[in-house]
């Protein structure tokens, strides 16, 4: 007999929510309430417009008092949305919050069913099950765990940087891990930023050095997280620190070793400049790189290949910072919360051969152009093409690898605006005729539309049409030696051939190549496209389904700088609220051992992924460490003698749910009982 709050028999209060028309439009809520009223133990059965509203919750609270209810069932939306709300209401009414059971008749019924009768029928079955289940509920104490105050931020692009600084300024210790030799991410590569046109470096580098100098931030660049274990409040993280072959402590970034290198000229395509220039084996990504530390690329360094280099770099370095023996290190840290800001990858335009990228030298990706027009870029900001010419006409093709079912279906959100920006910069740099080929201009942002206006005023060409092909097939003398962009001017309804000297492909944003591995490591989910999945698209945009792990920036979906920064701040705030609360409530859904039934067979021991189960050798019984148990219930299902049970998911509770679901006509129990667990 389940224990109750002062009453022996369960006295159930049942409430069905209209949710406006969301539920009531399909499910006959009146019938549901009437039906619930006929069920055993049900004292009150009501339907109400919005149960989650204050008056709705008030209904529950007063009923508990007036009708001495000791069980509450609410049929409304998904428990993932409002279970907490109603548990609180139940508690306010003076009951233990776990005497509550929720029935999902919106996401699971009204929103997925057309037929009214079918929907109502399904709702009734679910309600019957819940009413039966709740009778077996027991009063439970919520579990609390301490939150370790330190935070791990993964990825040091603008999002990671902003999140780290926010936390550090709030006095929290932050470890910031970046895969590349320098922090700054994509933003560091940009020339100017839309719509204000202030230079990316000017606004980013101060934040970068702030990170470097902040007493509360440990910056581990050229490093990758290799292992994560633990749970909200106390995660153990292993970080792999790749060897730079230059001591971070000793190097001051004077870069004399670079000049001294036996290679007079660089031979390797420069990653930071998108391969538009060459770097030496010993290099620093760019002048303001943070940390200001050079590194050696063992794949191209003679010393590593032959071991017979003059090592002019070593001679030159008066601080003896260079160390060819440096080994990879694994560091281990303890943190309470984690923010993932691993960013995005740009679409590889080779995947659309029609645009001739990699075939015609003067077809560029937008990121390449960012470097090309940058004063500290490979050409010092001189807009000179791969074939040495200066362009007189430029065509910017929008939506490359976006809004296309053959590549990526989503809109990358940033391309329209950065294309406008590049159009402006290119015209500024070259006085060229600039064409934008777009499907739709998406300038929804503060001062974005105004920027579009400005560009129109600058007499940039805007042709509404998705480009079909870029070829060197000239049909007329004046087209000779040019690339021909073939497009329909959809606003005029005529196919146009536009000859240009330079083509810029506005490539879209994609999930990082290794996003699937990363999400597995951190035990979170990805949406269909492969971006990290937020807990709720509207109400929990930076939370994940794993408590204590938050996401910020473009790893969650295409985003521009303002949005990324905003999200980074939000993620930091979420982490802070956990940290400052000091502890977090956990579902008391842990497993426990009923000693008298335990035979000590050990079959549960190696089942538990968290090694929460040990064997008390003296008493020959299994013992579960509640602090370690995450409540998956795998051991419960494994125990041959039914000695392990799980709070909130007791066998009786689930059996009674099954019974309720299927018991259309009363008493078909015959024989069925044969399968019942020893309860």
């Amino acid at each position: 007999m389940p224990e109750t709050n002062g009453h022996d028999a369960p006295r159930v209060g049942f409430y069905v929510c209209h949710c406006g028309h969301n539920i009531a439009g399909i499910v006959d809520v009146a019938e549901v309430a009437r039906f619930a009223g006929t069920l055993p133990n049900v004292i009150v059965a009501r339907d109400y417009k919005y149960m989650c509203s204050d008056p709705g919750q008030e209904l529950i609270i007063t009923d508990i008092r007036e009708h001495r209810l000791n069980r509450i069932v609410v049929a409304s939306c998904s428990p993932l949305l409002h279970e907490h709300t109603f548990r609180v209401a139940t508690e306010k009414g003076g009951l233990n919050p776990f005497y509550f059971q929720m029935v999902n008749i919106r996401e699971d019924v009204s929103w997925v069913t057309e037929n009214h009768d079918a929907a109502t029928h399904k709702a009734l079955d679910l309600v019957r099950a819940a009413v039966r289940r709740v009778a077996h509920h027991r009063s439970l104490a919520t579990k609390h765990v301490r939150i370790h105050p330190d935070v791990l931020v993964v990825g040091a692009g603008i999002s990671g940087i902003h999140a780290a600084l926010t936390l550090a300024n709030a006095g929290k210790k932050v470890t910031l891990v970046e895969r590349e030799p320098t922090i700054g991410g994509h933003m560091a590569m940009f020339d100017k930023t839309f719509p204000t046109l202030d230079c990316a470096a000017c606004i980013l580098t101060p934040k970068m050095s702030a990170v470097k100098n902040h007493p509360n931030i440990t910056l581990w660049s050229y490093s990758e997280v290799s292992e994560v274990s633990g749970y909200v409040g106390s995660y153990t993280v292993k970080v792999k620190r790749k060897p730079r072959f230059v001591s971070e402590e000793l190097c001051v970034g004077c870069m004399e070793c670079i000049d001294a290198c036996v290679y007079k000229e660089g031979k390797t395509p420069d990653e930071f400049n998108q391969g538009l220039s060459k770097r030496k084996p010993v290099y620093i990504p760019f002048p303001q790189a943070t940390p200001q530390v050079v590194l050696i690329d063992p794949d191209t360094c003679i010393e590593f290949k032959s071991g017979r280099c003059k090592k002019t770099c070593v001679e030159k370095c008066d601080r003896n910072a260079i160390d060819f023996k440096q080994k990879e290190e694994i560091k281990e840290i303890q943190v309470g919360t984690i923010i993932l800001a691993t960013g995005f990858k740009t679409f590889d335009p080779k995947r659309i051969p029609y645009y001739g990228y990699g075939k015609y030298p003067n077809v560029y990706s937008s990121l390449e152009v960012e470097r090309l027009v940058n004063a500290s870029g490979p050409t010092g900001g001189d807009l000179v093409l791969r074939d040495g010419r200066h362009p007189k006409t430029v065509g910017i093709i929008h939506c490359v690898g976006s809004r296309d079912r053959n590549t990526n279906r989503w809109c990358s959100r940033t391309c329209c605006m950065y294309s406008l920006k590049l159009a402006h910069l290119l015209k500024e740099h070259s006085e060229a005729e600039v064409y934008n080929f777009y499907i739709d201009i998406r300038a929804a942002g503060k001062a974005y539309e105004e920027f579009y206006d400005k560009l129109l005023e600058e007499n940039i060409h805007f042709i509404r049409g998705r480009v079909a092909e870029v070829t060197d097939w000239s049909a007329r003398p004046e087209e000779e030696g040019k690339m021909i962009i073939r497009v329909e001017d959809t606003l005029i309804g005529v196919v146009r051939r536009v000859p240009v000297d330079m083509v810029v492909l506005a490539v879209g944003m994609e999930p990082q190549a290794d996003s699937q591995d990363v999400r597995r490591m951190f035990n979170i989910s990805c949406s269909t496209e492969g971006f990290f999945l937020e807990r709720h698209p509207k109400l929990a945009p930076v939370d994940t389904f794993t408590d204590g792990i938050f996401i910020a920036g473009a790893c969650q979906g295409p985003k521009d700088i303002p949005d990324s920064v905003a999200q980074a701040g939000a993620a930091a705030a979420q982490a802070l609220s956990l940290i400052d609360a000091g502890e977090v409530e956990l579902e008391p859904n842990t497993a426990y051992v009923v000693e008298e039934s335990c035979s000590g067979c050990k079959s549960c021991l190696n089942i538990c992924p968290y090694t929460a189960i040990t064997r008390d050798e003296t008493r020959q019984k299994a013992f579960i460490n509640e602090a370690l148990c995450k409540g998956c219930g795998t051991c419960v299902a494994t125990c041959p003698s039914g000695a392990i049970r799980q709070n909130l998911f007791e066998d009786e509770q689930i059996f009674s749910e099954i019974e309720g679901l299927l018991q259309e006509k009363e008493s078909v129990l015959t024989g069925g009982g044969a399968w019942r667990a020893p309860a």
Binding site: P353, Y354, E469, T471, D472, W473, A475
Partner: protein, 300 residues
């Protein structure tokens, strides 16, 4: 390795040299071909414009016959269709029978009426695909007796052999034929119109449009220094070759470039007599016997 062979109507008239050269080349490589019993017209592009399920039925009969032959001693033999139109129509029929229930039920039923119980096992292949991917470039290269040195070839695939299904090559930038002719010692010129449409039957219907398409193709091929165009479809070949004179007359051009079937080209490289390859049937004669021109040497 052996195949069932679906000639299609064109290869019995305008495309005759295509058939002759195919048979000759496969004979030379000792790859047996068995003509499909009592095959019927595939329906081409026109039939679908009248009634599509009937068009599918028409084409499906051939697939069914092929399957029947496979079950009677020709196990595992794919159905080779050299004409792009036939190739696509058969392929498309196969595709929609697999993907569209409506089509499947109706066509299968119709086939039953004709005494066919079609399981859908027939695979439709194009000779280009077979030669390069089954027989293999190496094997063909080994058999070359007269390398095509100095020949600058514009490989022209046309549309329906690669589109829409892209079964064995890219829809816009196919390379199969280019690799093949390179192996024969020739140079394949790179041009963006490899798979650009020749207008198909438009030359016969809305000729003005049809001619202009072909003119663009021919001019570009010549401009890029090609001294021959190779095709893998009777209609393309017909359009590009037989209408050259008219194109020149109509647009005041002076285009003169031979247009042959890629199989004829292979045949010559393998030293098969010109007559067996139907070379004499071409409007614009091929002068291969000549030693390569100096200019060609320079480029080769």
């Amino acid at each position: 390795m052996s195949y069932l062979y679906f000639p299609g109507c064109s290869l019995r008239s305008t495309g005759r040299p295509y058939e002759e050269s195919i048979l000759a080349v496969f004979r030379k490589l000792n790859i047996p071909l068995k003509e499909l019993d009592d095959w019927n017209c595939c329906g081409a592009t026109a039939y679908v414009s009248i009634d599509e399920n009937r068009a599918f039925t028409l084409a499906a009969r051939n697939l069914a016959i092929a399957e029947r032959m496979q079950n009677n001693g020709n196990a595992g033999e794919d159905l080779m269709a050299p004409c792009s139109a036939c190739y696509l129509v058969l392929e498309k029929t196969q595709h929609y029978m697999k993907t569209d229930e409506g089509v499947n039920t109706e066509v299968t039923a119709a086939l039953r009426r004709g005494g066919f119980d079609y399981k859908g096992t027939t695979k439709v292949r194009h000779p280009l695909d077979i030669l390069v991917n089954d027989i293999g470039i190496e094997r063909i290269a080994k058999a070359v007796v007269r390398p095509m040195k100095g020949m600058k070839v514009a490989c022209y695939y046309g549309c329906q052999v690669v589109r829409p299904f892209e079964t064995f090559d890219h829809a816009a930038y196919p390379t199969t034929m280019d690799r093949l002719v390179t192996a024969l010692g020739a140079t394949a010129i790179d041009w963006p119109m490899k798979a650009r449409c020749c207008g198909g039957s438009l030359t016969g219907t809305i000729q003005e449009a049809g001619l202009r398409l072909n003119r663009a193709l021919l001019k570009e091929a010549e401009k890029r220094g090609a001294n021959i165009i190779l095709t893998c479809c009777p209609l393309c070949q017909h359009n590009l070759e037989c209408y050259q004179k008219r194109i020149n007359r109509r647009f005041g051009e002076s285009i003169h470039i031979p247009v042959a079937y890629f199989t004829q080209f292979i045949g010559l490289a393998l030293g098969i007599p010109r007559k067996e390859l139907g070379i004499q049937r071409l409007f614009i004669p091929l002068k291969f016997a000549d030693p390569p021109t100096k200019e060609a040497h320079a480029h080769a």
